[in-house]
Symmetry: C2
Subunit: 320 residues, 2 copies
Protein backbone atom coordinates (compact mmCIF):
# COMPACT_ATOMS: atom_id res chain seq x y z
CA UNK A 1 0.00 0.00 0.00
CA UNK A 2 1.43 3.37 -0.95
CA UNK A 3 1.04 5.92 1.77
CA UNK A 4 -0.34 9.19 0.46
CA UNK A 5 1.72 12.03 1.82
CA UNK A 6 2.18 15.74 1.56
CA UNK A 7 5.61 15.72 3.11
CA UNK A 8 8.14 16.73 0.51
CA UNK A 9 11.86 17.35 0.70
CA UNK A 10 14.36 18.97 -1.59
CA UNK A 11 17.13 16.59 -2.64
CA UNK A 12 20.33 17.52 -4.45
CA UNK A 13 23.02 15.36 -5.96
CA UNK A 14 25.88 17.80 -6.39
CA UNK A 15 28.69 16.70 -8.67
CA UNK A 16 31.85 18.40 -9.82
CA UNK A 17 30.25 18.65 -13.30
CA UNK A 18 26.46 18.45 -12.93
CA UNK A 19 23.95 18.98 -10.16
CA UNK A 20 20.53 17.31 -9.98
CA UNK A 21 17.93 18.95 -7.79
CA UNK A 22 14.60 17.31 -7.04
CA UNK A 23 11.49 17.55 -4.94
CA UNK A 24 10.79 14.09 -3.53
CA UNK A 25 8.02 12.81 -1.27
CA UNK A 26 8.20 10.40 1.68
CA UNK A 27 7.62 7.44 -0.62
CA UNK A 28 10.58 8.29 -2.84
CA UNK A 29 8.42 9.57 -5.71
CA UNK A 30 10.15 12.31 -7.65
CA UNK A 31 7.77 15.25 -8.04
CA UNK A 32 10.10 17.67 -9.84
CA UNK A 33 13.62 17.10 -11.18
CA UNK A 34 15.99 19.67 -12.64
CA UNK A 35 19.57 19.32 -13.83
CA UNK A 36 22.24 21.98 -14.33
CA UNK A 37 25.96 22.32 -14.80
CA UNK A 38 27.48 22.87 -11.37
CA UNK A 39 28.67 26.45 -10.99
CA UNK A 40 31.86 25.93 -9.04
CA UNK A 41 34.67 27.56 -11.01
CA UNK A 42 34.56 30.86 -9.17
CA UNK A 43 35.06 29.20 -5.80
CA UNK A 44 33.18 28.28 -2.71
CA UNK A 45 30.92 31.30 -2.15
CA UNK A 46 29.63 31.29 -5.73
CA UNK A 47 29.00 27.57 -5.51
CA UNK A 48 26.96 28.05 -2.33
CA UNK A 49 24.98 30.83 -4.04
CA UNK A 50 24.41 28.46 -6.95
CA UNK A 51 23.00 25.78 -4.62
CA UNK A 52 20.73 28.28 -2.87
CA UNK A 53 19.34 29.79 -6.05
CA UNK A 54 18.94 26.38 -7.73
CA UNK A 55 17.02 25.22 -4.64
CA UNK A 56 14.69 28.22 -4.93
CA UNK A 57 14.20 27.58 -8.63
CA UNK A 58 13.34 23.92 -8.01
CA UNK A 59 10.78 24.77 -5.34
CA UNK A 60 9.24 27.32 -7.67
CA UNK A 61 9.11 24.83 -10.53
CA UNK A 62 7.41 22.26 -8.26
CA UNK A 63 4.55 24.73 -7.72
CA UNK A 64 4.30 23.44 -4.14
CA UNK A 65 3.78 25.86 -1.26
CA UNK A 66 7.14 26.36 0.47
CA UNK A 67 5.69 25.16 3.80
CA UNK A 68 5.21 21.70 2.32
CA UNK A 69 8.96 21.34 1.77
CA UNK A 70 10.19 20.04 5.12
CA UNK A 71 13.94 20.00 4.59
CA UNK A 72 16.80 19.48 2.17
CA UNK A 73 19.10 16.49 1.65
CA UNK A 74 22.39 16.82 -0.22
CA UNK A 75 24.87 14.38 -1.70
CA UNK A 76 28.19 16.19 -1.94
CA UNK A 77 31.36 15.08 -3.76
CA UNK A 78 34.17 14.44 -1.33
CA UNK A 79 34.95 13.83 2.30
CA UNK A 80 32.74 15.40 4.93
CA UNK A 81 31.39 14.92 8.42
CA UNK A 82 27.81 13.79 7.92
CA UNK A 83 26.90 14.44 11.53
CA UNK A 84 27.87 18.12 11.50
CA UNK A 85 27.53 18.72 7.75
CA UNK A 86 31.06 20.09 7.53
CA UNK A 87 32.95 19.64 4.26
CA UNK A 88 36.61 18.67 4.56
CA UNK A 89 38.91 19.15 1.59
CA UNK A 90 37.35 17.83 -1.63
CA UNK A 91 40.11 16.98 -4.13
CA UNK A 92 38.17 18.48 -7.06
CA UNK A 93 36.98 21.72 -5.45
CA UNK A 94 39.04 24.68 -4.28
CA UNK A 95 38.58 26.59 -1.04
CA UNK A 96 36.35 24.04 0.67
CA UNK A 97 38.40 23.10 3.70
CA UNK A 98 36.29 22.85 6.88
CA UNK A 99 33.24 24.62 5.48
CA UNK A 100 30.11 24.23 7.68
CA UNK A 101 27.89 23.83 4.61
CA UNK A 102 24.90 22.47 6.51
CA UNK A 103 24.78 25.44 8.87
CA UNK A 104 25.23 27.91 6.00
CA UNK A 105 22.42 26.36 3.98
CA UNK A 106 20.05 26.02 6.94
CA UNK A 107 20.43 29.76 7.51
CA UNK A 108 19.94 30.61 3.84
CA UNK A 109 17.08 28.22 3.11
CA UNK A 110 15.39 28.38 6.51
CA UNK A 111 14.86 24.62 6.66
CA UNK A 112 16.70 21.59 8.11
CA UNK A 113 19.52 20.36 5.89
CA UNK A 114 21.37 17.01 5.96
CA UNK A 115 24.55 16.39 3.98
CA UNK A 116 26.03 13.07 3.01
CA UNK A 117 29.03 12.09 0.91
CA UNK A 118 27.92 11.35 -2.69
CA UNK A 119 28.96 7.68 -2.64
CA UNK A 120 27.10 7.14 0.63
CA UNK A 121 24.05 8.97 -0.76
CA UNK A 122 24.05 6.67 -3.81
CA UNK A 123 24.29 3.63 -1.53
CA UNK A 124 21.41 4.91 0.58
CA UNK A 125 19.32 5.56 -2.54
CA UNK A 126 19.89 2.06 -3.92
CA UNK A 127 19.11 0.59 -0.50
CA UNK A 128 15.89 2.61 -0.20
CA UNK A 129 14.39 2.44 -3.67
CA UNK A 130 16.81 0.61 -5.96
CA UNK A 131 18.57 -2.73 -6.33
CA UNK A 132 18.99 -3.08 -2.57
CA UNK A 133 15.40 -2.42 -1.61
CA UNK A 134 14.48 -4.91 1.10
CA UNK A 135 18.07 -5.75 2.11
CA UNK A 136 19.54 -4.73 5.45
CA UNK A 137 23.18 -4.54 4.44
CA UNK A 138 24.74 -3.52 1.17
CA UNK A 139 27.95 -2.14 -0.26
CA UNK A 140 27.49 0.20 -3.23
CA UNK A 141 30.51 0.70 -5.49
CA UNK A 142 30.66 3.75 -7.73
CA UNK A 143 32.69 3.12 -10.87
CA UNK A 144 33.18 6.39 -12.70
CA UNK A 145 35.78 9.16 -12.84
CA UNK A 146 36.87 7.70 -9.51
CA UNK A 147 36.01 4.53 -7.62
CA UNK A 148 34.06 5.13 -4.43
CA UNK A 149 31.92 3.14 -2.09
CA UNK A 150 29.18 3.44 0.46
CA UNK A 151 28.24 0.95 3.15
CA UNK A 152 24.73 0.45 4.49
CA UNK A 153 24.65 -1.69 7.64
CA UNK A 154 21.25 -2.59 9.05
CA UNK A 155 19.73 0.23 7.03
CA UNK A 156 22.15 2.97 8.06
CA UNK A 157 25.21 4.51 6.43
CA UNK A 158 28.38 3.29 8.14
CA UNK A 159 30.75 6.26 8.32
CA UNK A 160 33.58 4.85 10.42
CA UNK A 161 35.67 6.67 12.99
CA UNK A 162 36.66 9.56 10.71
CA UNK A 163 34.10 9.47 7.87
CA UNK A 164 36.42 7.48 5.59
CA UNK A 165 34.58 4.13 5.61
CA UNK A 166 33.70 2.60 2.23
CA UNK A 167 36.79 3.79 0.37
CA UNK A 168 37.15 0.60 -1.63
CA UNK A 169 38.75 2.55 -4.50
CA UNK A 170 41.81 2.98 -2.35
CA UNK A 171 42.20 -0.55 -1.11
CA UNK A 172 45.26 -2.30 -2.49
CA UNK A 173 44.53 -5.02 -5.04
CA UNK A 174 47.97 -5.35 -6.61
CA UNK A 175 50.81 -4.94 -4.12
CA UNK A 176 53.38 -3.58 -6.57
CA UNK A 177 50.73 -2.22 -8.89
CA UNK A 178 50.37 0.98 -10.87
CA UNK A 179 50.46 4.46 -9.40
CA UNK A 180 47.18 5.87 -8.06
CA UNK A 181 46.35 9.58 -7.85
CA UNK A 182 46.04 9.20 -4.05
CA UNK A 183 49.80 8.65 -3.82
CA UNK A 184 49.56 4.93 -3.09
CA UNK A 185 50.26 2.14 -5.59
CA UNK A 186 48.07 -0.74 -6.69
CA UNK A 187 44.76 0.80 -5.60
CA UNK A 188 41.57 -0.51 -7.18
CA UNK A 189 40.79 2.97 -8.52
CA UNK A 190 43.97 3.07 -10.59
CA UNK A 191 42.69 0.03 -12.53
CA UNK A 192 38.92 0.37 -12.49
CA UNK A 193 38.04 4.06 -12.83
CA UNK A 194 37.17 5.23 -16.34
CA UNK A 195 40.52 6.99 -16.84
CA UNK A 196 42.44 3.99 -15.53
CA UNK A 197 40.63 1.62 -17.86
CA UNK A 198 41.20 3.91 -20.86
CA UNK A 199 44.90 4.23 -20.07
CA UNK A 200 45.29 0.47 -19.70
CA UNK A 201 43.35 -0.18 -22.94
CA UNK A 202 45.44 2.34 -24.87
CA UNK A 203 48.68 0.95 -23.46
CA UNK A 204 47.65 -2.58 -24.38
CA UNK A 205 46.74 -1.52 -27.92
CA UNK A 206 50.03 0.31 -28.26
CA UNK A 207 52.04 -2.60 -26.87
CA UNK A 208 50.48 -5.04 -29.21
CA UNK A 209 50.18 -2.72 -32.22
CA UNK A 210 46.47 -3.43 -32.14
CA UNK A 211 44.88 -0.09 -32.86
CA UNK A 212 46.20 0.05 -36.42
CA UNK A 213 47.86 3.42 -35.97
CA UNK A 214 44.62 5.08 -34.78
CA UNK A 215 44.46 7.82 -32.18
CA UNK A 216 44.25 6.56 -28.59
CA UNK A 217 40.68 5.84 -27.50
CA UNK A 218 39.18 8.84 -25.72
CA UNK A 219 36.22 7.40 -23.83
CA UNK A 220 34.54 4.19 -22.69
CA UNK A 221 32.03 4.30 -25.57
CA UNK A 222 34.92 3.78 -27.97
CA UNK A 223 36.18 0.96 -25.75
CA UNK A 224 32.75 -0.65 -25.97
CA UNK A 225 32.75 -0.26 -29.76
CA UNK A 226 36.14 -2.01 -30.02
CA UNK A 227 34.71 -4.88 -27.96
CA UNK A 228 31.66 -5.06 -30.25
CA UNK A 229 34.09 -5.31 -33.16
CA UNK A 230 35.64 -8.32 -31.44
CA UNK A 231 38.95 -6.73 -30.48
CA UNK A 232 40.53 -9.32 -28.18
CA UNK A 233 43.20 -6.97 -26.81
CA UNK A 234 40.58 -4.54 -25.54
CA UNK A 235 38.34 -7.36 -24.35
CA UNK A 236 41.19 -8.84 -22.31
CA UNK A 237 41.79 -5.54 -20.53
CA UNK A 238 38.11 -5.33 -19.61
CA UNK A 239 38.06 -8.95 -18.42
CA UNK A 240 41.18 -8.24 -16.39
CA UNK A 241 39.45 -5.19 -14.89
CA UNK A 242 36.57 -7.47 -13.89
CA UNK A 243 39.01 -9.86 -12.20
CA UNK A 244 40.67 -7.00 -10.29
CA UNK A 245 37.28 -5.69 -9.17
CA UNK A 246 36.44 -9.26 -8.17
CA UNK A 247 39.48 -9.43 -5.86
CA UNK A 248 38.40 -6.25 -4.08
CA UNK A 249 34.79 -7.43 -3.82
CA UNK A 250 35.83 -10.87 -2.51
CA UNK A 251 37.72 -9.03 0.22
CA UNK A 252 34.55 -7.09 1.09
CA UNK A 253 32.56 -10.35 1.10
CA UNK A 254 34.93 -11.96 3.61
CA UNK A 255 35.47 -8.84 5.71
CA UNK A 256 32.06 -7.17 5.82
CA UNK A 257 29.86 -10.02 4.52
CA UNK A 258 27.05 -7.85 3.07
CA UNK A 259 23.84 -9.20 1.52
CA UNK A 260 24.39 -7.25 -1.66
CA UNK A 261 26.98 -5.45 -3.76
CA UNK A 262 25.49 -2.77 -6.03
CA UNK A 263 27.62 -1.63 -8.96
CA UNK A 264 26.94 1.89 -10.07
CA UNK A 265 28.38 4.45 -12.52
CA UNK A 266 29.43 4.80 -16.15
CA UNK A 267 31.98 1.97 -16.12
CA UNK A 268 29.17 -0.55 -15.55
CA UNK A 269 27.97 0.17 -19.12
CA UNK A 270 30.73 -2.25 -20.19
CA UNK A 271 28.21 -4.86 -19.05
CA UNK A 272 28.80 -8.60 -18.96
CA UNK A 273 32.37 -8.36 -20.33
CA UNK A 274 33.23 -6.70 -17.03
CA UNK A 275 30.66 -8.20 -14.67
CA UNK A 276 30.95 -11.90 -15.53
CA UNK A 277 34.72 -12.20 -14.83
CA UNK A 278 34.09 -10.10 -11.71
CA UNK A 279 31.49 -12.52 -10.38
CA UNK A 280 33.67 -15.53 -11.19
CA UNK A 281 36.60 -14.05 -9.31
CA UNK A 282 34.45 -13.30 -6.26
CA UNK A 283 33.25 -16.92 -6.23
CA UNK A 284 36.81 -18.14 -6.65
CA UNK A 285 38.25 -16.08 -3.79
CA UNK A 286 35.56 -15.53 -1.14
CA UNK A 287 34.18 -18.11 1.28
CA UNK A 288 31.30 -20.13 -0.11
CA UNK A 289 29.15 -19.11 2.85
CA UNK A 290 29.80 -15.44 2.05
CA UNK A 291 29.07 -15.75 -1.68
CA UNK A 292 26.01 -18.00 -1.35
CA UNK A 293 24.21 -15.21 0.45
CA UNK A 294 25.68 -12.40 -1.70
CA UNK A 295 23.88 -10.81 -4.62
CA UNK A 296 25.91 -8.68 -7.02
CA UNK A 297 23.58 -6.33 -8.89
CA UNK A 298 23.73 -3.30 -11.16
CA UNK A 299 22.24 -0.03 -9.95
CA UNK A 300 18.50 0.24 -10.62
CA UNK A 301 18.23 3.97 -10.10
CA UNK A 302 21.14 5.08 -12.26
CA UNK A 303 21.53 8.86 -12.13
CA UNK A 304 18.81 9.14 -9.48
CA UNK A 305 20.58 7.04 -6.80
CA UNK A 306 22.32 9.97 -5.15
CA UNK A 307 19.27 12.25 -5.32
CA UNK A 308 16.99 9.65 -3.72
CA UNK A 309 19.64 8.81 -1.13
CA UNK A 310 19.96 12.49 -0.25
CA UNK A 311 16.16 12.61 0.13
CA UNK A 312 16.10 9.52 2.36
CA UNK A 313 18.87 10.98 4.51
CA UNK A 314 16.95 14.14 5.37
CA UNK A 315 13.65 12.21 5.70
CA UNK A 316 15.22 9.87 8.27
CA UNK A 317 16.59 12.81 10.22
CA UNK A 318 13.21 14.57 10.17
CA UNK A 319 11.48 11.43 11.41
CA UNK A 320 13.79 11.04 14.38
CA UNK B 1 33.80 3.32 40.99
CA UNK B 2 33.61 -0.44 40.87
CA UNK B 3 30.08 -1.70 41.23
CA UNK B 4 29.81 -4.53 43.74
CA UNK B 5 27.81 -7.33 42.22
CA UNK B 6 26.75 -10.86 42.90
CA UNK B 7 25.86 -11.61 39.31
CA UNK B 8 28.29 -14.15 37.96
CA UNK B 9 28.46 -15.98 34.66
CA UNK B 10 30.37 -18.98 33.44
CA UNK B 11 32.63 -18.16 30.51
CA UNK B 12 34.46 -20.66 28.31
CA UNK B 13 37.05 -20.16 25.62
CA UNK B 14 37.02 -23.47 23.79
CA UNK B 15 39.95 -24.14 21.49
CA UNK B 16 40.86 -27.12 19.37
CA UNK B 17 43.71 -27.77 21.85
CA UNK B 18 42.86 -26.14 25.19
CA UNK B 19 39.73 -24.91 26.91
CA UNK B 20 39.65 -22.17 29.54
CA UNK B 21 36.62 -22.05 31.81
CA UNK B 22 36.02 -19.18 34.22
CA UNK B 23 33.52 -17.66 36.58
CA UNK B 24 33.36 -13.92 35.86
CA UNK B 25 31.32 -11.15 37.43
CA UNK B 26 29.54 -8.22 35.78
CA UNK B 27 32.63 -6.05 36.08
CA UNK B 28 34.81 -8.51 34.24
CA UNK B 29 36.65 -9.70 37.34
CA UNK B 30 37.70 -13.32 37.05
CA UNK B 31 36.64 -15.18 40.20
CA UNK B 32 37.76 -18.69 39.21
CA UNK B 33 39.74 -19.85 36.17
CA UNK B 34 40.53 -23.40 35.10
CA UNK B 35 42.32 -24.71 32.03
CA UNK B 36 42.22 -28.17 30.46
CA UNK B 37 43.10 -29.94 27.25
CA UNK B 38 39.99 -29.98 25.08
CA UNK B 39 38.53 -33.46 24.90
CA UNK B 40 37.42 -33.58 21.28
CA UNK B 41 39.06 -36.59 19.67
CA UNK B 42 36.15 -38.96 20.22
CA UNK B 43 33.76 -36.68 18.39
CA UNK B 44 30.95 -34.32 19.05
CA UNK B 45 28.99 -36.01 21.83
CA UNK B 46 32.07 -36.59 23.95
CA UNK B 47 33.13 -32.98 23.46
CA UNK B 48 29.72 -31.77 24.60
CA UNK B 49 29.97 -34.01 27.69
CA UNK B 50 33.42 -32.55 28.32
CA UNK B 51 32.03 -29.00 28.22
CA UNK B 52 29.16 -29.88 30.56
CA UNK B 53 31.32 -31.65 33.12
CA UNK B 54 34.04 -28.97 32.97
CA UNK B 55 31.31 -26.37 33.59
CA UNK B 56 30.15 -28.27 36.67
CA UNK B 57 33.70 -28.60 37.91
CA UNK B 58 34.33 -24.87 37.50
CA UNK B 59 31.17 -23.92 39.37
CA UNK B 60 32.14 -26.30 42.16
CA UNK B 61 35.65 -24.88 42.31
CA UNK B 62 34.22 -21.34 42.56
CA UNK B 63 32.36 -22.34 45.75
CA UNK B 64 29.52 -20.06 44.66
CA UNK B 65 25.92 -21.19 45.03
CA UNK B 66 24.67 -22.34 41.62
CA UNK B 67 21.82 -19.79 41.72
CA UNK B 68 24.35 -16.96 41.56
CA UNK B 69 25.60 -18.17 38.17
CA UNK B 70 23.17 -16.48 35.79
CA UNK B 71 24.26 -17.95 32.45
CA UNK B 72 27.12 -19.20 30.33
CA UNK B 73 29.03 -17.55 27.49
CA UNK B 74 31.16 -19.54 25.07
CA UNK B 75 33.79 -18.69 22.50
CA UNK B 76 33.87 -21.56 20.02
CA UNK B 77 36.44 -22.22 17.25
CA UNK B 78 34.89 -21.97 13.85
CA UNK B 79 31.89 -20.64 11.97
CA UNK B 80 28.55 -20.48 13.75
CA UNK B 81 25.30 -18.57 13.93
CA UNK B 82 25.63 -16.43 17.04
CA UNK B 83 21.94 -15.64 17.08
CA UNK B 84 20.77 -19.26 17.25
CA UNK B 85 23.94 -20.76 18.73
CA UNK B 86 24.20 -23.30 15.93
CA UNK B 87 27.66 -24.51 14.93
CA UNK B 88 28.32 -24.89 11.21
CA UNK B 89 31.21 -26.99 10.03
CA UNK B 90 34.42 -26.19 11.96
CA UNK B 91 37.46 -27.13 9.86
CA UNK B 92 39.30 -28.63 12.85
CA UNK B 93 36.45 -30.61 14.45
CA UNK B 94 34.63 -33.64 13.05
CA UNK B 95 30.86 -34.22 13.15
CA UNK B 96 29.89 -30.68 14.01
CA UNK B 97 27.76 -29.70 11.04
CA UNK B 98 24.60 -27.81 12.06
CA UNK B 99 24.77 -28.70 15.76
CA UNK B 100 22.40 -26.57 17.93
CA UNK B 101 25.02 -26.33 20.69
CA UNK B 102 23.31 -23.51 22.56
CA UNK B 103 20.03 -25.42 22.89
CA UNK B 104 21.84 -28.60 23.93
CA UNK B 105 23.84 -26.82 26.63
CA UNK B 106 20.87 -24.80 27.91
CA UNK B 107 19.04 -28.09 28.48
CA UNK B 108 22.02 -29.74 30.14
CA UNK B 109 23.12 -26.81 32.30
CA UNK B 110 19.68 -25.34 32.97
CA UNK B 111 20.83 -21.79 32.37
CA UNK B 112 20.86 -19.33 29.44
CA UNK B 113 23.81 -19.89 27.07
CA UNK B 114 25.24 -17.55 24.39
CA UNK B 115 27.79 -18.72 21.84
CA UNK B 116 30.12 -16.59 19.80
CA UNK B 117 32.88 -17.40 17.32
CA UNK B 118 36.28 -17.39 19.09
CA UNK B 119 37.72 -14.48 17.08
CA UNK B 120 34.62 -12.39 17.77
CA UNK B 121 34.76 -13.32 21.46
CA UNK B 122 38.40 -12.17 21.62
CA UNK B 123 37.43 -8.89 19.93
CA UNK B 124 34.59 -8.38 22.38
CA UNK B 125 36.89 -9.13 25.32
CA UNK B 126 39.51 -6.62 24.16
CA UNK B 127 36.79 -4.04 23.56
CA UNK B 128 35.27 -4.59 27.01
CA UNK B 129 38.29 -4.92 29.27
CA UNK B 130 41.42 -4.83 27.12
CA UNK B 131 43.25 -2.59 24.65
CA UNK B 132 40.00 -1.34 23.16
CA UNK B 133 38.32 -0.36 26.40
CA UNK B 134 36.60 2.97 25.79
CA UNK B 135 36.54 2.72 21.99
CA UNK B 136 33.33 2.27 20.01
CA UNK B 137 34.74 0.49 17.00
CA UNK B 138 37.62 -1.93 16.73
CA UNK B 139 38.93 -4.72 14.57
CA UNK B 140 40.74 -7.48 16.46
CA UNK B 141 43.12 -9.66 14.44
CA UNK B 142 44.08 -13.08 15.78
CA UNK B 143 47.52 -14.15 14.59
CA UNK B 144 48.09 -17.77 15.57
CA UNK B 145 47.62 -21.19 13.99
CA UNK B 146 45.24 -19.33 11.68
CA UNK B 147 44.55 -15.67 11.05
CA UNK B 148 41.08 -14.57 12.15
CA UNK B 149 39.31 -11.36 12.90
CA UNK B 150 36.43 -9.91 14.84
CA UNK B 151 34.73 -6.57 14.27
CA UNK B 152 33.14 -4.48 17.00
CA UNK B 153 31.01 -1.65 15.61
CA UNK B 154 29.52 0.78 18.10
CA UNK B 155 30.12 -1.74 20.86
CA UNK B 156 28.54 -4.76 19.13
CA UNK B 157 29.97 -7.69 17.20
CA UNK B 158 29.31 -7.27 13.48
CA UNK B 159 28.45 -10.70 12.09
CA UNK B 160 27.45 -9.86 8.52
CA UNK B 161 24.77 -11.52 6.44
CA UNK B 162 25.98 -15.08 6.98
CA UNK B 163 28.22 -14.88 10.06
CA UNK B 164 31.40 -14.62 7.96
CA UNK B 165 32.31 -10.98 8.68
CA UNK B 166 35.81 -10.29 9.96
CA UNK B 167 37.58 -12.99 7.98
CA UNK B 168 40.63 -10.87 7.27
CA UNK B 169 42.81 -14.00 7.12
CA UNK B 170 41.17 -14.87 3.85
CA UNK B 171 41.37 -11.53 2.17
CA UNK B 172 43.75 -11.46 -0.79
CA UNK B 173 46.96 -9.53 -0.21
CA UNK B 174 49.05 -10.94 -3.06
CA UNK B 175 47.04 -11.60 -6.20
CA UNK B 176 49.20 -14.44 -7.53
CA UNK B 177 50.45 -15.38 -4.10
CA UNK B 178 51.06 -18.64 -2.30
CA UNK B 179 48.45 -21.34 -1.78
CA UNK B 180 46.19 -21.03 1.28
CA UNK B 181 44.54 -23.97 3.05
CA UNK B 182 41.14 -22.41 2.21
CA UNK B 183 41.71 -23.21 -1.47
CA UNK B 184 42.34 -19.62 -2.52
CA UNK B 185 45.75 -18.11 -3.28
CA UNK B 186 47.47 -15.07 -1.79
CA UNK B 187 45.38 -14.94 1.41
CA UNK B 188 46.82 -13.07 4.38
CA UNK B 189 46.68 -16.27 6.46
CA UNK B 190 49.04 -18.10 4.12
CA UNK B 191 51.72 -15.50 4.95
CA UNK B 192 50.97 -14.44 8.49
CA UNK B 193 49.81 -17.49 10.45
CA UNK B 194 52.48 -19.22 12.53
CA UNK B 195 52.82 -22.14 10.09
CA UNK B 196 52.99 -19.80 7.11
CA UNK B 197 55.72 -17.72 8.72
CA UNK B 198 57.74 -20.82 9.66
CA UNK B 199 57.48 -22.19 6.14
CA UNK B 200 58.56 -18.90 4.61
CA UNK B 201 61.46 -18.55 7.07
CA UNK B 202 62.66 -22.11 6.39
CA UNK B 203 62.36 -21.63 2.63
CA UNK B 204 64.33 -18.39 2.81
CA UNK B 205 67.06 -20.04 4.91
CA UNK B 206 67.22 -22.94 2.49
CA UNK B 207 67.30 -20.69 -0.58
CA UNK B 208 70.11 -18.62 0.81
CA UNK B 209 71.96 -21.42 2.57
CA UNK B 210 71.57 -19.42 5.76
CA UNK B 211 70.76 -22.05 8.37
CA UNK B 212 74.22 -23.64 8.15
CA UNK B 213 72.85 -27.11 7.48
CA UNK B 214 70.65 -27.09 10.59
CA UNK B 215 67.23 -28.71 10.83
CA UNK B 216 64.35 -26.50 9.70
CA UNK B 217 63.04 -24.24 12.48
CA UNK B 218 60.08 -25.86 14.24
CA UNK B 219 58.42 -22.96 16.05
CA UNK B 220 58.28 -19.18 16.37
CA UNK B 221 60.50 -19.20 19.47
CA UNK B 222 63.34 -20.48 17.32
CA UNK B 223 62.52 -17.79 14.75
CA UNK B 224 62.77 -15.21 17.50
CA UNK B 225 66.13 -16.65 18.62
CA UNK B 226 67.51 -16.38 15.09
CA UNK B 227 66.46 -12.72 15.02
CA UNK B 228 68.16 -12.14 18.39
CA UNK B 229 71.30 -13.64 16.88
CA UNK B 230 71.03 -11.02 14.12
CA UNK B 231 70.10 -13.34 11.26
CA UNK B 232 69.18 -10.94 8.46
CA UNK B 233 67.49 -13.59 6.31
CA UNK B 234 65.02 -14.44 9.07
CA UNK B 235 64.60 -10.80 10.00
CA UNK B 236 63.72 -9.92 6.41
CA UNK B 237 60.97 -12.54 6.31
CA UNK B 238 59.47 -11.14 9.51
CA UNK B 239 59.68 -7.57 8.20
CA UNK B 240 58.04 -8.73 4.97
CA UNK B 241 55.28 -10.38 7.05
CA UNK B 242 54.73 -7.04 8.78
CA UNK B 243 54.44 -5.31 5.40
CA UNK B 244 51.91 -7.89 4.16
CA UNK B 245 49.87 -7.51 7.36
CA UNK B 246 50.12 -3.75 6.85
CA UNK B 247 48.53 -4.04 3.39
CA UNK B 248 45.56 -5.95 4.82
CA UNK B 249 45.19 -3.53 7.72
CA UNK B 250 45.40 -0.48 5.42
CA UNK B 251 42.51 -2.01 3.48
CA UNK B 252 40.52 -2.32 6.72
CA UNK B 253 41.38 1.29 7.61
CA UNK B 254 40.03 2.58 4.29
CA UNK B 255 37.04 0.23 4.12
CA UNK B 256 35.80 0.03 7.70
CA UNK B 257 37.68 2.96 9.28
CA UNK B 258 37.81 1.64 12.86
CA UNK B 259 39.21 3.53 15.83
CA UNK B 260 41.50 0.69 16.75
CA UNK B 261 43.19 -2.45 15.46
CA UNK B 262 44.08 -4.94 18.20
CA UNK B 263 46.70 -7.57 17.37
CA UNK B 264 46.33 -10.77 19.30
CA UNK B 265 47.88 -14.25 19.36
CA UNK B 266 51.25 -16.00 19.47
CA UNK B 267 52.64 -14.39 16.31
CA UNK B 268 52.60 -10.98 18.03
CA UNK B 269 55.43 -12.22 20.29
CA UNK B 270 57.71 -11.38 17.35
CA UNK B 271 57.24 -7.82 18.60
CA UNK B 272 58.60 -4.70 16.97
CA UNK B 273 60.32 -6.61 14.14
CA UNK B 274 56.83 -7.43 12.92
CA UNK B 275 54.80 -4.49 14.21
CA UNK B 276 56.98 -1.56 13.11
CA UNK B 277 57.03 -2.46 9.37
CA UNK B 278 53.30 -3.19 9.73
CA UNK B 279 52.56 0.30 11.05
CA UNK B 280 54.74 1.93 8.41
CA UNK B 281 52.93 0.09 5.63
CA UNK B 282 49.51 1.09 7.01
CA UNK B 283 50.62 4.74 7.06
CA UNK B 284 51.99 4.42 3.53
CA UNK B 285 48.84 2.90 2.06
CA UNK B 286 45.78 4.15 3.97
CA UNK B 287 44.25 7.63 3.83
CA UNK B 288 45.81 10.06 6.27
CA UNK B 289 42.39 10.80 7.75
CA UNK B 290 41.90 7.08 8.44
CA UNK B 291 45.33 6.53 10.02
CA UNK B 292 45.37 9.73 12.09
CA UNK B 293 42.43 8.42 14.07
CA UNK B 294 43.61 4.79 14.10
CA UNK B 295 45.44 3.18 16.99
CA UNK B 296 47.20 -0.14 16.40
CA UNK B 297 47.70 -1.93 19.72
CA UNK B 298 48.72 -5.32 21.05
CA UNK B 299 46.17 -7.35 23.03
CA UNK B 300 46.10 -6.43 26.73
CA UNK B 301 44.24 -9.51 27.90
CA UNK B 302 46.28 -12.16 26.13
CA UNK B 303 44.84 -15.61 26.80
CA UNK B 304 41.89 -14.13 28.68
CA UNK B 305 40.47 -12.12 25.73
CA UNK B 306 38.16 -14.88 24.54
CA UNK B 307 37.01 -15.84 28.02
CA UNK B 308 36.13 -12.26 28.95
CA UNK B 309 34.47 -11.71 25.57
CA UNK B 310 32.36 -14.84 26.09
CA UNK B 311 31.39 -13.47 29.51
CA UNK B 312 30.46 -10.07 28.09
CA UNK B 313 28.38 -11.73 25.38
CA UNK B 314 26.14 -13.60 27.82
CA UNK B 315 26.03 -10.61 30.22
CA UNK B 316 24.76 -8.34 27.41
CA UNK B 317 22.10 -10.89 26.46
CA UNK B 318 20.99 -11.24 30.09
CA UNK B 319 20.74 -7.47 30.45
CA UNK B 320 18.51 -7.08 27.39
Amino acid sequence: MTKITNNYVLAADIGGTNTRMAVVNENGDIHTLLKKSTYCKEGRDEMISFIVSFAGETIEKSELPIEEICGMGIGFPGPLNAETGTIFNPPNLQGWDSVPLRDILEKELKMPVAIENDANAAALGEWWKGAGSGTGTLFCITLGTGVGGGIILDGKVWHGASSIAGEIGHTTVIRDGIQCTCGNIGCLEAYACSGGILKRVNNALLDEGGNGGLEPLANLKQVDQMIMQGNEIVLNVIRETGVILGIAIANIANLINPEMIVLFGGVTNLGAHLVEPLKEEVKRRAFKKATESLRIELSQLGDNSGTLGAAKNILSKLQN
